[in-house]
């Protein structure tokens, strides 16, 4: 399987704190990889580096055969590498539909919103909202959504331009059982029907075991384990203890 995303020896320090100390990982085409680690292991920093929000001090990132180590986040989105945030910050003045429309207008490579009618974009956005279960709330101000719906909106934004790889940062944590099941189902269908790859970041090994093809565990800024996700709860029994995500 060829690698869609490949990070090699990523190092990142904030002041004197070395958060990442040479992390390497890869995600193949149409693969779901889990990134596991306890709180403070550097998962979110890794997601920020992979998505281009921050740049690493050392190491490089390859995506689709090209080096993207210093490509900014918006350009990565347009290239099909998108992410969700653990703490969503919605646009307070826009509705749900408009929020996703922004991504459609700016995030579609090549076309840049030109030569397409607003109706075509609108239909596209509506179909994304139907899939993510936000269609009924499409005229709501994004700021008025519940936590579960905000996660759905993050999801809708991330998949609105047919990405190749989506980084999901703790997207399933602190959700109701219903929301979690629906989002997991959506992820599975996107993976199976559309061939989208996922990097699923979580501190919940049971969830990763259920959803992923492969899993990587980091701790203290280093990769400590990699292998079958089903083994994850067994390999790291200590980690299942502080399962705060449910």
């Amino acid at each position: 399987m060829s690698d869609l995303l490949r990070a090699e020896g990523i190092e990142k320090a904030f002041g004197a704190t070395r958060v990442l100390r040479g992390v390497s990982l890869s995600v193949g085409t149409a693969e779901v990889v889990g990134l596991f680690g306890p709180n403070g292991a550097g998962k979110t920093v890794m997601a920020n580096v992979l998505s281009g929000l921050i740049f690493p001090d050392r190491g490089r990132i390859l995506y689709d055969g090209k080096e993207i180590t210093r490509l900014p986040m918006d350009a990565r989105f347009r290239a099909g590498l998108t992410r969700t945030f653990q703490i969503p910050s919605p646009y307070p003045a826009l509705t749900v539909m408009e929020s996703v429309l922004v991504a459609r207008l700016c995030g579609d490579p090549g076309r840049g919103g030109k030569g397409r009618s607003l109706r075509e974009d609108g239909e596209e956005v509506e179909s994304v909202l139907r899939r993510t279960g936000l269609f009924a709330q499409r005229f709501w101000p994004a700021a008025k959504l519940s936590q579960g719906c905000l996660r759905r909106l993050e999801f809708a934004r991330a998949i609105s331009c047919r990405p190749k790889l989506v980084l999901l940062d703790e997207v399933f944590s602190a959700l109701s059982a219903k929301d979690e099941a629906e989002l997991a189902g959506l992820m599975r269908s996107l993976h199976e029907d559309d061939g989208i790859s996922f990097l699923l970041i979580s501190h919940n090994p049971l969830l990763l075991a259920e959803m992923c093809d492969r899993a990587v565990a980091i701790e203290g800024g280093r990769v400590v384990w990699g292998g079958e996700p089903a083994d994850l709860p067994a390999v790291l029994p200590a980690a299942t203890g502080d399962d705060t995500g449910q």
Binding site: T44, V45, N48, L53, I54
Partner: protein, 287 residues
């Protein structure tokens, strides 16, 4: 003796007073976590207090500084408590509102004392060193600023300064251990405003007093705080003295207004070179 020596000595005095004001601005940035554009207005307030007092025959700088501090503290606490604290998380409201307060003061001063520069007598010089006059305001300014700054540094490193440090570094912890964060914020705002007013009162004999006179020291303090950060009082002091010297030399060699122009140029360049600015003043979190 070259007249340049005089310029340098006066610049030293002026700069030390600006350091006082910059320290106040840094305190607001650290504890209240806002960029305060009303700081210059308190400087002008102090200068006008000194002007009014000297018009009534009181020319003792200590009296002017004390009265200016009291008035500015009261105004600062009021502004901090009733405006800055409630709108703290809205950068627009803070920036435009604090500028609004400054403009409110400028217009009020213009209506009270007229738009034209006024000045007060600077008193007899303290002494002369081989042709260089040591002016009374200058010596008083240097001593008073160094005294207040030293006291502030001592206070911050003492037990009493701990709540301020905690708020500036670990806000959530400060709230959870029972510190009244809001109260400390507006008290800090009042104290910092008082430092600006003290600086204004100290420098009043040396400058022409106009409603908009606070803009130059405001920009200067902003440069100091952006360039030197807000922890190190000594760095603030040295940088403010350096800038005070430079602007005095600039005013001497070119014209007084060019010192403002050069400060504006410096702050623009500084912002371009350090786009991150100060992380504490940025309420939006990225990580």
């Amino acid at each position: 003796m070259h007249p340049f020596a005089q310029v340098i000595l006066d610049g030293l005095f002026t700069g030390s007073t600006y350091a006082l004001m910059a320290a106040g601005l840094a305190l607001i940035l650290g504890v209240v976590k806002v960029v305060n554009l009303s700081h210059g207005a308190f400087f002008s307030l102090g200068a006008y207090v000194a002007y009014v007092l000297s018009g009534k025959g009181v020319s003792n700088p200590a009296a002017a500084v004390l009265l200016a501090c009291v008035i500015a503290f009261a105004f600062g606490v009021f502004l901090g408590k009733s405006f800055i604290n409630p709108v703290r998380s809205h950068p627009f409201s803070v920036a435009v509102g604090s500028l609004g307060f400054a403009i409110l003061f400028e217009q009020a001063a213009q209506m009270l004392w007229g738009p034209h520069p006024v000045s007060i007598g600077s008193g007899p010089p303290w002494g002369e060193l081989s042709g260089v006059v040591v002016r009374r305001w200058g010596a008083v300014s240097l001593l008073a600023s160094a005294g207040i700054l030293g006291g502030l540094a001592l206070f911050l490193s003492s037990r009493w300064g701990l709540p301020l440090k905690l708020i500036s570094e670990e806000e959530e912890i400060a709230g959870s251990v029972g510190i009244d964060v809001e109260k400390i914020r507006y008290l800090t705002f009042g104290f910092a405003s008082a430092t600006a007013a003290a600086a204004g009162a100290l420098l009043a004999p040396a400058t022409s007093i106009t409603p908009t006179m606070g803009r130059v020291p405001l920009i200067l303090s902003l440069i100091v705080v952006i360039a030197s950060g807000m922890e190190n009082v000594l760095a603030i002091f040295l940088l403010a003295v350096g800038l005070g010297l430079l602007s005095n030399i600039g005013a001497y060699l070119l014209a007084p207004q060019w010192s403002y122009v050069s400060l504006l140029t410096v702050i623009s360049l500084l912002l371009l070179l350090r786009p991150g600015g100060l992380s504490a003043a940025d309420p939006g979190r990225d990580y």
